[in-house]
C-alpha cells in the first residue's frame, strides 16, 4: 500500500506569491493514498530537506512528491534526501509548480492555484506506480584511443599516459606531427615550431604506456562508454618496422621522385619515404601508387601489355636488415577501449574556387602553409624564400587574408581565427629574411584577440613596416613578371593596384577530409562544415553527446596551437577522471523491452539515435529487440514508435502516463 507524502515548496515568493499554499495543502490531503501534506519556505535548503527526511520516517512514507521547481533543477537534491531517509531515491516525483505554473500564471492567482492542485494530482497518480530502481555498475577498459597524431592528439596521449593509463594513438599518415610539423615559426613568440614539437613526438614514441599506430585508420566503432570495440585498419607499409632501423638508404636511393605532400607539392619525395626528416616513427612506408616494382607487378598481372616497366626493387637490394616486406597486406584489427578522443585537426581551404585569384594558374600565388615550407630551414628550398616561377627572391609580397574564411558566397562564413596572426608573423619573418622586402596585407579586420597578439600585430607595422590595406582584393593577374593585385582601400575609399613579386593567400581552416565519415562511425554530431560538435560550447567544450567520446583541437573549430594543447590536456583530464573509477554507474531510467509482446519489427532499432537498441533471438527462435542499458539515454523515441507497446521507459511507463491523465479527473 502506497503511503504518499506531499511537500509543497514556497520557493520564497516565487511560488507562494502566486499560488495559494494553504488551499493546495488542503486539496492535497484529500488525494488518494496521501498520508501527509506539508509546506516549506525553501524545500531545497538543508532545514527543508531535513523536514522531508523526518516526515518520511515519522509517517512511514514510501512515496514522495515534492511540488516545487523543475526536476532539472533539484530532482537529484531530493533523491539524495530520500536516500538519506532510507528510501529508494527513484520513489520521488517532482511536481513542477514553479516554471510550469507560478511563473507563467502570475497574473491570475486563482487559475495558478487550481493548476498547482491539478499538477499535484497527476503526480500522485503517477508516483503510486513508481517502483524502486537500482543503478547498474559496468566495468571499464582502462585504455584510451586517440584519433589523430597532430599536436592535439600528441598532448592528449601524453597526458593520459602520464596519468598512468594505456593509450593507443592512431594516425593515418606515415608520421605523427600533423600541421604543426609543417610550420616554420609560431606566433607571437617566434618559437621554432619543429623545435618545440619534435621532443614531444619523441616522448610519445618512447612512452611505455603509448602504442603508436601510424598509417592506420579507424574503420568501425561499436560499444559504449567504458567498453568500445574499434576496428583499426593498418594500411600496408610494405616495410617491416620491427626489422627496419631507419638508416635511410632506401629513401636516398629510390629512383622514383614524386611531389611531396608534406611540402605541399613544392618539393619532391621518393616512392619509399618518410614525410620529413624528424618523422616519428623514423621508418619509411612504400607509396604503392608510385612504386616502380608495384607498377611492374601490375604490368605482369594485366597480361604484359605495353612497354615493360623496370623491375627496380632497389630498396630491397640495399636494405641492410631485409626489412622490405612485399607480402605485407593491409590488416584489420579489433581493439577494446574505454574512451575515444577525436583530434583529427584541420586542412587548409582549397582556393581553386577563387577564380579571381587565378585558381592555381599563377606559379607565384601560393598559400600561407606553402610559405611556411619555403621559410623552413628543412623545407624544399632550405629556408630561402624564392619564387616558383623563376627562383628569384621576391622584394614585394602581398598577403590576402580571409581566403575561404568570412566569405558567405563561398559557403565559408566563419572566421579561421589564426590567419590574421600568421600573416603578421610571415610578414615579420620575410623582413627578417631580407630587409629589402616590402609586405602588404589585405585584410577585412585584424583579429588579434589573444595574449600578446595585438602587440605582435603592431610589431608587424612598426618594425617590419608592413602596409595594411583594409579590403578584400577583387582580382589578381599576371603582368609580365609581376602579379598585379587589384583591390579597394576601403578606409581611403579608393581603388588600389599593387604590383608585387609574390602573393600569399591566407587560406582558412576546414576539418580534415573524412571528418564527417568518422563522426558518423562514432555516432557523434558534426556541423554543416564537418566540424565536430561539442556537448556544450562553453561548459562542456571537449565532451560530446555520446558518453565516453571526447573531441579536442581544430576538428571542433578553428584553433591556434595553445588552444589545441589546452583542449588536448582537458580531454586527457576527462579521460583520467573516468579511468580513476573501477566501474561506471548507469542511470536506471531507461527503455526495457517486454520480450513476450515484441513482434520483432525492429522499427526501434532504426529509430534509436544512440544505437542503443539491438536485436537478439529468443530461445524459441523469435527475433526481438533488446536495449543496451549502457547506451540508452531514456529519450523515449523507441517507445513512441513501438506498435505492440512492448517497450516501456522505467519511471515513465505507459501505464503511468495514462494514470497521470486519469488522475486529473479523480
Amino acid at each position: 500500500m502506497a503511503r504518499v507524502g506531499v511537500f509543497v515548496c514556497h520557493c520564497g515568493t516565487n511560488i507562494a506569491g502566486v499560488v495559494n499554499i494553504p488551499e493546495v495543502l488542503e486539496a492535497a490531503e484529500k488525494m488518494p493514498m496521501v498520508v501527509s501534506a506539508t509546506d516549506n519556505k525553501y524545500s531545497c535548503s538543508e532545514p527543508g530537506q531535513a523536514s522531508i527526511r523526518e516526515a518520511i520516517i515519522e509517517n512511514n512514507l514510501n512515496r514522495v512528491i515534492v511540488a516545487a521547481c523543475s526536476p532539472r533543477m533539484h530532482e537529484i537534491t531530493f533523491r539524495r534526501a530520500l536516500a538519506s531517509a532510507g528510501l529508494n531515491p527513484y520513489l520521488l516525483e517532482m511536481a513542477n509548480i514553479r516554471e510550469q505554473c507560478s511563473w507563467v500564471h502570475s497574473d491570475n492567482k486563482e487559475i495558478a492555484t487550481n493548476k498547482a492542485i491539478e499538477i499535484i494530482k497527476m503526480a500522485v497518480a503517477k508516483v503510486i506506480r513508481h517502483e524502486p530502481l537500482y543503478p547498474r555498475q559496468v566495468g571499464i577498459t582502462k585504455r584510451a584511443l586517440v584519433i589523430g597524431g597532430g599536436i592535439t592528439g600528441i598532448q592528449t596521449a601524453l597526458d593520459i599516459a602520464n596519468a598512468g593509463y594505456g593509450v593507443v594513438l592512431v594516425e593515418r599518415e606515415p608520421s605523427i606531427g600533423g600541421r604543426m610539423a609543417q610550420l616554420d615559426k609560431t606566433f607571437p613568440t617566434l618559437d621554432c615550431s619543429a623545435c618545440i614539437l619534435t621532443p614531444k613526438m619523441v616522448d610519445l614514441s618512447q612512452h611505455p604506456k603509448i602504442k603508436l599506430m601510424t598509417y592506420a585508420e579507424v574503420k568501425k566503432v561499436t560499444g559504449f562508454i567504458g567498453n568500445f570495440e574499434v576496428e583499426i585498419l593498418h594500411k600496408a607499409k610494405k616495410v617491416d618496422h620491427l626489422k627496419c632501423i631507419g638508416c635511410g638508404i632506401c629513401w636516398q636511393k629510390c629512383p622514383e621522385k614524386v611531389p611531396s605532400e608534406f611540402d605541399l607539392g613544392l618539393g619532391k619525395r621518393t616512392a619509399i619515404y618518410i614525410p620529413f626528416a624528424q618523422a616519428v616513427p623514423p621508418k619509411p612506408v612504400i607509396d604503392l601508387s608510385h612504386c616502380r616494382y608495384t607498377k611492374y607487378l601490375t604490368w605482369v598481372a594485366t597480361g604484359q601489355e605495353g612497354k615493360k616497366p623496370p623491375e627496380c626493387r632497389i630498396c630491397e637490394k640495399l636494405c641492410p636488415t631485409a626489412a622490405i616486406a612485399w607480402d605485407q597486406e593491409e590488416q584489420l584489427f579489433t581493439e577494446k577501449f574505454g574512451t575515444i578522443v577525436v583530434a583529427t585537426g584541420y586542412q587548409t581551404y582549397d582556393y581553386s574556387h577563387y577564380k579571381e585569384y587565378g585558381s592555381r594558374d599563377f606559379a607565384d600565388v601560393i598559400t600561407g602553409l606553402q610559405l611556411e615550407r619555403l621559410m623552413s630551414a628543412s623545407g624544399p628550398t632550405g629556408g630561402e624564400v624564392t619564387r616558383l616561377s623563376d627562383g628569384s627572391h621576391p622584394k614585394t609580397v602581398a598577403f590576402v587574408c580571409c581566403v575561404g574564411s568570412r566569405d558567405q558566397q563561398r559557403g565559408r562564413p566563419y572566421c579561421s581565427k589564426v590567419c590574421c596572426m600568421y600573416t603578421a608573423k610571415q610578414a615579420i619573418m620575410l623582413k627578417e629574411h631580407d630587409p629589402e622586402v616590402q609586405c602588404y596585407i589585405f585584410y577585412i579586420d585584424v583579429r588579434a584577440g589573444g595574449k600578446d597578439f595585438e602587440e605582435f600585430y603592431l610589431r608587424a607595422i612598426d618594425e617590419a613596416g608592413v602596409i595594411y590595406i583594409k579590403g578584400r582584393p577583387s582580382k589578381i593577374y599576371q603582368d609580365g613578371k609581376k602579379l598585379i593585385v587589384l583591390g579597394e582601400d576601403t578606409l581611403m575609399g579608393r581603388p588600389v593596384e599593387i604590383p608585387v613579386d609574390l602573393v600569399v593567400l591566407a587560406t582558412g581552416m576546414e576539418p580534415s577530409a573524412g571528418a564527417d565519415e568518422l563522426a558518423r562511425n562514432l555516432n557523434i554530431s558534426y556541423d554543416t562544415y564537418n566540424f565536430m560538435v561539442e556537448a556544450h560550447p562553453k561548459l562542456r567544450p571537449v565532451e560530446t553527446h555520446t558518453d565516453g567520446i571526447f573531441v579536442a583541437g581544430a576538428c571542433v573549430g578553428p584553433r591556434d596551437i595553445p588552444e589545441c594543447v589546452a583542449q588536448g590536456s582537458a580531454a586527457a583530464a576527462k579521460v583520467a577522471a573516468l579511468f580513476s573509477q573501477d566501474t561506471l554507474t548507469t542511470e536506471p531510467l531507461i527503455a526495457v523491452v517486454n520480450q513476450a509482446r515484441c513482434i520483432g519489427c525492429l522499427l526501434c532499432v532504426t529509430i534509436c539515435p544512440f544505437k542503443a537498441v539491438d536485436y537478439q533471438t529468443t530461445q524459441d527462435g523469435r527475433l526481438i529487440a533488446a536495449t543496451n542499458e549502457s547506451l540508452c539515454k531514456g529519450c523515449g523515441l523507441c517507445i513512441a514508435a513501438c506498435r505492440p507497446k512492448a517497450i516501456d521507459l522505467r519511471g515513465f511507463t505507459n501505464q503511468q502516463i495514462l494514470d497521470e491523465v486519469a488522475g486529473l479527473w479523480l
Binding site: 577564380k355 579571381e356 587565378g358 582580382k475 593577374y477 599576371q478 603582368d479
Partner: protein
C-alpha cells in the same frame, strides 16, 4: 528548316550607335530560322540611370515590356547587356508578391506572371539553338578574346547566366565557327561603362587594361555582347592609344558579326564598316574575306 519566333527588345543603343549589332543579330537569327519580333511600342528599360534614381521606376519600366512580351509563348530576347540586366533585375524583384501588386498598380495594365526565366540574352538564344547555326565558312586562324563584361554575369543569383569569373558560353559559340578563343583573365572585368560621360579618365584606364590584356593573351580581335563595352573599346581606342602611347589596333566585333561571317553574310550586310577600328585588314590578312 524549323521556324520559331521570339519577342525581341532591341533597346535604344541598337537603334543608334549599335545599329550593326541589331542588324547582324536579326540576320543571323533569320539564317537560323528564328524570327525576332520587335515588341510594339517599347519604352526605355531605364538602364544606367533609373535604378540610381528611383527603385520602383527601375522595376516598372522593364515590367511594362515583360507584360507585353507575355503574349508570346517564348522568352523575351534582349541583345544589350544593360537591358538584359534591367529585365533580369525586374523579374527577380517581381518574384515578390507585394512588389508584383505594386508594379501592377503603377503600370496599370495586364497580369504580371511570375517567371524569372522569361528573359534571355541573345547569346543564350544562339547557344540554345546552336544546332541551327549552319557554318559555311570556318573562321580558322582568327584569335578572339571573348569579352562578356560585368552585367551579363553579375549578380549571379539575379542573372543566372554563366560563371562570374570564367564564363564560357560566348567562347563556345566562337569555337563553333572554328575561330580560336584566347584564355584570358579579364572576361568579366569592368570597362568603365557609362562613366565615359562623367569620368573619362577612369574609363580610359579600365578599357586600356582590357585591350592591353587581350593583346597580351595573343588575341587579334575582341568579341563583345554589349553596346557600351563596344563603344568604350572600339570608338575610344584611338583616344586610349594616344593616352597610353600604346599601339593596340584590335578590332572589336559583336559576336553576331563573327557568327554572321561564318554564315557567309557579307561584311557590308553585317555593317563591319561601321566600326572605328577597321576590321577589314585583319580579315583580309586571315583570308576570311
Amino acid at each position: 528548316m524549323k521556324q520559331s519566333a521570339y519577342p525581341y527588345y532591341p533597346g535604344c543603343t541598337l537603334k543608334a550607335s549599335a545599329k550593326e549589332y541589331d542588324i547582324s543579330a536579326r540576320l543571323v537569327c533569320a539564317q537560323m530560322g528564328i524570327k525576332l519580333e520587335e515588341l510594339d511600342d517599347w519604352v526605355c528599360c531605364g538602364a544606367a540611370s533609373a535604378h540610381g534614381i528611383d527603385r520602383l521606376l527601375s522595376i516598372a519600366l522593364p515590367a511594362r515590356e515583360l507584360v507585353t512580351a507575355q503574349k508570346f509563348k517564348a522568352p523575351l530576347v534582349t541583345a544589350c547587356a544593360l537591358c538584359f540586366s534591367r529585365f533580369k533585375f525586374a523579374a527577380y524583384e517581381l518574384r515578390n508578391e507585394a512588389m508584383r501588386n505594386l508594379i501592377k498598380y503603377i503600370i496599370g495594365e495586364g497580369e504580371i506572371q511570375q517567371n524569372s526565366d522569361g528573359v534571355i540574352h541573345l547569346i543564350q538564344l544562339l547557344d540554345n539553338n546552336k544546332d541551327d547555326i549552319r557554318v559555311k565558312k570556318l573562321l580558322n586562324g582568327l584569335r578572339v578574346a571573348c569579352y562578356y563584361g560585368c552585367l551579363l554575369v553579375r549578380p549571379k543569383e539575379v542573372t543566372n547566366f554563366d560563371d562570374e569569373e570564367e564564363p564560357q558560353i560566348m567562347d563556345k559559340l566562337i569555337k563553333l565557327v572554328e575561330a580560336e578563343t584566347v584564355d584570358w583573365k579579364f572576361k568579366t572585368e569592368c570597362c568603365g561603362g557609362s562613366h565615359m560621360l562623367t569620368r573619362p579618365d577612369i574609363v580610359i584606364k579600365l578599357s586600356h587594361r582590357l585591350l592591353y590584356q587581350a593583346k597580351q593573351a595573343g588575341a587579334d580581335c575582341l568579341a563583345v555582347a554589349c553596346p557600351v563595352c563596344h563603344y568604350n573599346l572600339d570608338s575610344n581606342q584611338k583616344k586610349i592609344e594616344a593616352n597610353y602611347k600604346d599601339n593596340i589596333g584590335l578590332p572589336v566585333f559583336y559576336f553576331t558579326q563573327l557568327v554572321g561571317l561564318a554564315m557567309e553574310l557579307s561584311p557590308k550586310q553585317l555593317l563591319l564598316n561601321k566600326h572605328f577600328v577597321n576590321p577589314m585588314p585583319l580579315l583580309q590578312r586571315k583570308g576570311l574575306i
